[in-house]
Subunit: 430 residues, 2 copies
């Protein structure tokens, strides 16, 4: 999938099949070290002919392309999501930042360091080093911009006011929202996903380091999802309530569905976002101790699905079309009117691409319970016609609300992909 939809210009990878592991080996031991900037890779290749690091290249998701990675890419095992605020007042700094980010992200997603690992001992190393020796681990890095990048305190900070899409607006306050400042908003975002959390952490940390003086961390959240799927089939992951999560997702392998649901199309709004997508993030705490005292029937009625199979209540197979008219022996709807599945589905016209992760942040000291739940991430073409009406229905009467609390929220426009030689953000800033 990824290779079909993301690859547009992959020549840099074809030319340089070399991983961080190889760089480290070639760099020698004992701190002698060879300066290994991005530009130094070509020279090294001649030393390595016939010794291509084929195993690692399998775990590379191409960076350059029509779309950014990390949206329709097969969901990796870990996410490290960060929201940032811009600290510079100059547009040229912002442009420089996105150029540097693009270069660094292209290197890291290819399993390479962002610069020399041990060059000049009188300087801090360009790359922070903790991913040295690790594979690219299917790392994707997805950049987005928030509403307040365009207008903040009525100021047109970077001359971008005219470019703000109508759809890129703060989400409405939904009933029951219990948002905390420390998990909410942001002017820029980076979503780093990888099968190795250390690789995702390394990516974000180096990007934030590059941003020093231009943008600063606002909030950060790691997440995980089930791993070790069967090789032949992707099972739907389970959330921390033990239920399958994401069954109703559109098919990321269908370009048609993705164009209908996920990718901003010409005419939708400003042209700079065409082939990009809107990301809605919600940090949803799940009261798992309360859930764990709830009987199975109540749990299943809450979701509107069977726990084991994921099938809609009254039906057999996880992927069956919902039969919302079906009634049980008592004459009640099999899928209750306040169930999560029925309310999410609505009349079936609003679809989003969910790409959620579970989180576990130790203990909630106020409640004496786990601080665990869902880092809900979803992508869509038009939030006002997709996430917002769905969430309006859910916030009003979803039975699941008894067991959850929305603690954080943000919206970002994820930029279109870049061509080799270009940069992420080019369409917005130029």
């Amino acid at each position: 999938m990824t290779e079909k939809t993301n690859t547009q210009d992959n020549s840099v990878l074809n030319g340089t099949k070399i991983s961080r592991r190889d760089i480290l080996k070639t760099a020698g031991v004992g701190g002698v070290g060879v300066i290994l900037g991005a530009s130094g890779l070509g020279g090294l290749l001649s030393l390595k002919e016939g010794n291509a690091a084929t195993p690692d290249t399998k775990e590379i998701v191409p960076f350059y392309g029509k779309h950014q990675g990390g949206i329709t890419t097969k969901t990796q095992n870990h996410v490290y999501f960060v929201s940032l605020d811009v600290t510079t007042a100059k547009k040229e700094d912002l442009v420089k930042l996105f150029k540097e980010w693009t270069k660094a992200a292209a290197l890291m997603t290819a399993g390479e360091a962002v610069g020399e690992l041990s060059g000049n001992e009188f300087m801090p190393p360009k790359d922070t080093g903790e991913a040295a020796g690790l594979s690219a681990s299917n790392l994707t890095i997805t950049f987005g911009v928030g509403p307040s990048l365009f207008i903040k305190d009525n100021q047109d900070r970077f001359g971008l006011k005219q470019k703000q899409p109508k759809e890129l607006a703060d989400l409405p306050k939904f009933p029951l929202d219990a948002l905390e400042e420390r998990w909410t908003g942001g002017e820029l975002c980076i979503q780093a996903c990888a099968d190795d959390l250390q690789v995702a952490f390394h990516a974000v940390r180096n990007l934030i380091r590059i941003a020093r003086g231009k943008a600063a961390l606002r909030w950060a959240q790691t997440g995980f999802q089930r791993t070790k799927q069967s090789d032949t089939k992707n099972e739907t992951p389970r959330n921390l309530f033990g239920f399958k999560d994401g069954t109703a997702n559109p098919d990321v392998n269908s370009e048609k569905q993705m164009n209908q649901t996920v990718w901003v199309q010409p005419g939708d709004g400003p042209n700079w976002l065409v082939n990009g997508s809107y990301l809605v993030v919600r940090r949803i705490q799940m009261y798992i101790e309360v859930w764990d005292r709830t009987n199975l029937r109540e749990q299943e009625n809450t979701f509107g699905r069977y726990r084991d199979s994921g099938a809609p209540l009254g039906q057999k197979d996880e992927f069956e079309t919902l039969d919302l008219q079906k009634k049980n022996e008592q004459g009640e709807y099999s899928i209750p009117v306040d169930s999560h599945t029925r309310l999410s589905h609505g009349n079936g016209s609003e679809k989003i691409l969910r790409r959620a992760y579970s989180y576990s942040d130790g203990m909630d000291m106020k409640m004496g319970s786990f601080d665990a739940g869902l880092l809900f991430l979803c992508f869509q073409r038009t939030p006002s016609k997709q996430f917002i009406p769905i969430q309006n229905r859910l916030a009003k009467m979803d039975k699941l609300n008894e067991y959850t609390s929305h603690r954080g929220s943000a919206i970002f426009a994820c930029l279109p992909g870049a061509k080799q030689g270009g940069f992420i953000g080019e369409t917005l800033f130029n």
Copy 2:
């Protein structure tokens, strides 16, 4: 390694090669479900003859044995560590808890559910379900008891006073300690390690659920370490400062070294802890932004090792014996007197088995920086002769202290392993 040192009585596994994945398949769809308690597994096997789930059994670390798993076991990719306080006043509740924990831990480490996944719809399911379909993922579960289980507020709470080992005492306050209540102490601990964080989370959550009314969560911390090692060789993982961490570890494959360093021996103290080990946990915040502004020479002088190779300064290979007398051209010690490596090593007589993980807990709101660092976990036979003198040296003058802060601390006696039919804690409570 694990199989050599941990296996003593593995008959339960040999008899029942069935994973959570199989259980789910057999349980059918549509919520019909079959009651699948632990005792039901034997009956199911006849349905599955000639269809053993061989791939998954490779990812099982035997639970029963002379020692608990998770100590000399090859370090898995993730840890979920929790500290608990006992809430019952009755010793028999405590015994019952450890019996139930043992049974549940044996099931989960074998990749099985702790009870039926969907049995009686009028009851909460016995197993919380989020690991359904996942492999055992090399899950280990290690139980420990803290000093305050024996004496708290001068009370001999459970008649265990006479059994408290001298070595199981609160750690001294070290210079520069900045401990916070929310990461410190505890009467019981569970260390769950697995190659899948969802599997580790599931284990801890179900054990805490079983403890309801007897013990409650005090603090919790997840951790990760680098994954995707070469198949033929275990490289030393890197910490978030980009340096290799754990080079000087004793050899977990050497029974002799483990008996000298890790396992409590007859005569060391009370007999109930023989074949157990003392665990010291420290939650060490690392100021990575400060580190990242430090030049490479300073970084290497701080550790006393080269960043790339991990070799001691002035030497060539990561695993070379430290040459503490070696001087550089300026006549100074190559490995500086205040370097982490020299101070950790001391005169070489104190060794500990490090089993550390990195952590990333979003943002430190007070500092506006990452809240990231090291969940330092180490095992030893005699803390007063191992961790404590090492940490005394480090706390006084380790150059690394400029970049780190110890926020949490605890000590636990990790119980010896149990035989099939017995339970963890048997030697202490009987």
